[in-house]
């Protein structure tokens, strides 16, 4: 899985391409930890090209959410594909990680 970090207007976008499984999950944690350590604590994870996520990937997202919040920021998810949405809904985690339709809109209204 590839991760791409890019600065947006008032947030930092982390885009993941590929499968967010037990191989990729630790790398997502690293990428977000580095981003937060650099002072960018408002993070939008763009999942448009994340073709698959399992409970390992979900656990990494939750860990990253905690990390961002502990640093005074937040983590939001955007452009969620059907399989990822299914996992979020079946685990009830869509209540914690609310899917946003667009990256730019994830922090709008704050």
């Amino acid at each position: 899985m590839q991760f791409n970090v890019e600065a947006g207007e008032g947030y930092t976008e982390v885009a993941g391409t590929g499968r967010l499984n037990m191989v990729a999950a630790p790398r997502l944690r690293e990428v977000v930890a580095e981003t937060v350590a650099a002072g960018n604590t408002r993070i939008v994870v763009n999942l448009a090209d994340t073709e698959f996520m399992d409970s390992s990937g979900l656990g990494a997202l939750i860990g990253c959410l905690k990390l961002a919040r502990q640093a005074g920021g937040d983590l939001r998810i955007a452009c969620v594909p059907a399989q990822v949405l299914m996992v979020l809904q079946l685990t009830g985690m869509d209540r914690v990680l609310t899917p946003h339709p667009s990256v730019a809109g994830a922090f709008s209204g704050d």
């Binding site: 399992d54 979900l58 919040r69």
Partner: protein
């Protein structure tokens, strides 16, 4: 009707990379079984990858054995089935509560009244509950010194 319409198998050392191989295996399966509805493919693949990940994460090699995982996937007219084998593994410490299943969204540390309390949400422990939510049957057996998880999902639209 139990005619096998498509099937394949992989057997690999029990490392995280084996999970990527299982994804590839299922992709090849769908190339043959292209009639399986997208929703069933998605649910089945998620369940099989969860089960394979569980095997990689939790299986413990028996003394002197090399731990391997095998996945056999089969498509019949009405059913998708996978056997996930932990070769050379000791008998697992089965989590009876997790096997009993229930609502994977149920989270004792996270009441419905506090939907935004992300800092109290556990990061792991959802795998088996997720599998149960996605399949019709889930079975465990110990055979010839190996652990075998069999899961199936009814897919009545198949064929």
């Amino acid at each position: 009707m139990t005619d096998v319409l498509a099937s394949n198998a992989v057997r690999l050392p029990a490392t995280p990379e084996a999970v990527d191989a299982v994804h590839g295996q299922l992709e090849r399966l769908w190339e043959v079984a292209d009639f399986v509805p997208a929703l069933d493919r998605m649910a089945f693949e998620t369940a099989v990858v969860e089960a394979a990940s569980n095997a990689v994460r939790h299986a413990v090699a028996a003394s002197g054995a090399v731990l391997e995982i095998g996945v056999e996937a089969t498509v019949t007219r009405r059913r998708l089935e996978a056997r996930i084998c932990e070769y050379g593994a000791v008998v697992p410490d089965l989590d009876a509560a997790a096997l009993a299943g229930g609502d994977p969204g149920r989270d004792p540390a996270h009441g419905a009244g506090a939907p935004d309390a992300g800092e109290h949400v556990p990061e792991s422990g959802r795998g088996l509950a997720l599998i149960r939510a996605l399949v019709t049957t889930l079975r465990f057996e110990r055979r010839d010194g190996n652990n075998i998880w069999t899961l199936s999902r009814d897919s009545p639209a198949s064929g």
